[in-house]
């Protein structure tokens, strides 16, 4: 799922006729101050990061004057937010004397439908509100085929007791909100807070939007907004950008690459390569339990060609500071493991990492793959080992720890 930055989500809302605050994206202190100088009543400066809970971590600054905005923007650009660098901010007018509401749509897997949620108690954590005051949240299940009618939206607003003077405009907003969600094939869309002021009407104070990455190809209009249609909690790293370019135009199999730490400054980080979601996640848990850490989460599955696996491994091995490479996958019935293994062998042979690499792949042709690794590792002196069902993933992680220890004693790293 690809998350949009706030300013991008607001732009989509604006295209569908929703009001957003006057504002602009700024990449320098000067741009912030210049915009703030032209706005009476002060501005809000919001770091454009994908990290959740941005406000509580100092990522939103409210200022009264242009001079104040200069200092606040400088803090954001230099200090970042919760270890996330900030290279752009959204600077907006303040919406004063406004009530704050909540509107959101998410997919409910249990009923296989989108659910619209509305509450007159916006501006705070909606999960907390749902726990302590569930009666303050209206929930409307929506059928994709029939959509959300204005009458249904009116009824929902009436049931949850919003102020009568905004009921009609809120119902109209909800229909546009739903249409935005549907048009861009989103998996979630949220405005919190939705401001309601006598002067400005209903205005989207924030916007969190997530687009279904499998629908991304149908929306070329989003290409300029989304670097990589995958859900990340950070702006994509250079390696993630390259990985996406590998995946983007090659339909064969799936390649997912997420760098979990950008700079490694301690021991125990491993380049982690899984195949298939469940087993890969379990492998990550075991890695952590035994005291190692994943520098990345990479998945190649769905029967990718050797070339795609090779590029994936090349990227993993190029992460600075890792002390090992681990490839785990269990019960692989849908792909020829000799093909997967050839991709790994080619990458290891070319890069010649000075750290150990361990493969544990179990499935179709794993015995042939294991023989291939033994033969190539011996002939070419590769620091590469392969284990099948005879060894558990836990055993392989312990083996990795031993090899890392030996490697450190030999003076590598």
């Amino acid at each position: 799922m690809a998350r949009l930055f706030e300013h991008q989500g607001k732009e989509l809302l604006r295209r569908y006729g929703l009001n957003i605050p006057r504002g602009q994206v700024a990449t320098s202190v000067g741009e912030v101050a210049q915009f703030a100088a032209g706005i009476a009543g002060g501005v809000v400066i919001k770091a454009q990061v994908l990290h959740t809970g941005r406000g509580k971590k100092g990522g939103i600054k409210i200022t009264d004057t242009a001079e104040e905005s200069r200092g606040a923007a400088s803090d954001l650009f230099t200090q970042g937010v919760a270890s996330n660098p900030v290279d752009r901010v959204l600077v907006e007018e303040r919406i004063l004397d406004a009530a704050e509401y909540f509107v959101g749509i998410t997919l409910d897997d249990s009923i296989k439908r989108p659910v619209l949620m509305i509450s007159p108690q916006g501006g705070e954590d909606i999960e907390e509100l749902a726990r302590y005051s569930p009666d303050l949240i209206g929930r409307i299940e929506i059928d994709y085929l029939t959509g959300l009618s204005l009458d249904r939206a009116r009824q929902a607003v009436k049931e949850i007791e919003f102020p009568a003077d905004i009921a009609e405009s809120l119902a109209v907003l909800l229909v546009k909100f739903w249409e935005t969600f549907k048009k861009y094939e989103m998996t979630s869309l949220e405005i919190n807070p939705l401001f309601s002021s006598s002067q400005r009407g209903l205005v989207a104070g924030d916007c969190k939007a997530t687009v279904d990455d499998y629908a991304f190809f149908r929306h070329p209009e989003l290409e300029e907004m989304i670097d990589i249609p995958r859900e990340f909690s950070h702006a994509p790293t250079e390696l993630e950008k390259v990985a996406w370019l590998v995946e983007k135009d090659d339909y064969r199999g799936t390649f997912y690459f997420s760098q979990l730490v950008e700079e490694i400054d301690e021991d125990g980080y491993i380049g982690y390569h899984g195949g298939g979601g469940g087993g890969s996640m379990a492998g990550m848990d075991k890695l952590k339990r035994l005291g190692l850490k994943a520098a990345c989460y990479v998945d190649t599955s769905g029967n990718p060609p050797g070339s795609k696996v090779y590029r994936a491994v090349k990227l993993i091995l190029s992460i600075p500071g890792i002390q090992g490479y681990l490839c785990f996958s269990d019960a692989v019935a849908s792909q020829d493991l000799t093909v997967t293994t050839r991709g790994i062998i080619k990458a290891v042979k070319e890069i010649r990492p000075d750290f150990p690499a361990i493969i544990r792949l179990v499935g179709y042709r794993s015995e042939e793959a294991q023989r291939l690794v033994r033969e190539t590792a011996e002939k070419w002196g590769l620091n590469l080992e392969y284990y099948g069902h005879e060894k558990s993933t836990l055993w392989c992680i312990e083996r990795m720890k031993t090899l890392i220890g030996d490697n450190l004693r030999d003076g590598n790293h």
Partner: protein
């Protein structure tokens, strides 16, 4: 040098090395018969477009077997794309 375009890269064959390779294991390793022995070494067994679009599945069998049992005359160049700023 003989080059054969694949979907995302290129097979590069050094005919001189292939001539001194009696087995040509790459030819037999390819699951789709992309390669054949020629007078000048090893070359494509099908039209270029057919190989690129359909026959070569980039399984890397030809390269690995060539380097393992042959004369290391065949390599597959698979460049990584470059990220733009």
């Amino acid at each position: 040098m003989v080059t054969i375009e694949t979907l995302t890269g290129e097979i590069v064959i050094d005919g001189l090395r292939c001539k001194s390779c009696p087995q040509a294991p790459c030819v037999g390793a390819c699951p789709n018969g992309v390669l054949q022995c020629t007078a000048s070494g090893v070359g494509p067994a099908h039209p270029a477009e057919e190989i690129k679009r359909r026959l070569c599945v980039e399984c890397l069998a030809c390269e690995i077997i060539c380097h393992l049992r042959g004369e290391e005359g065949l390599s597959i160049d698979l460049p990584l794309p470059r990220a733009t700023a």
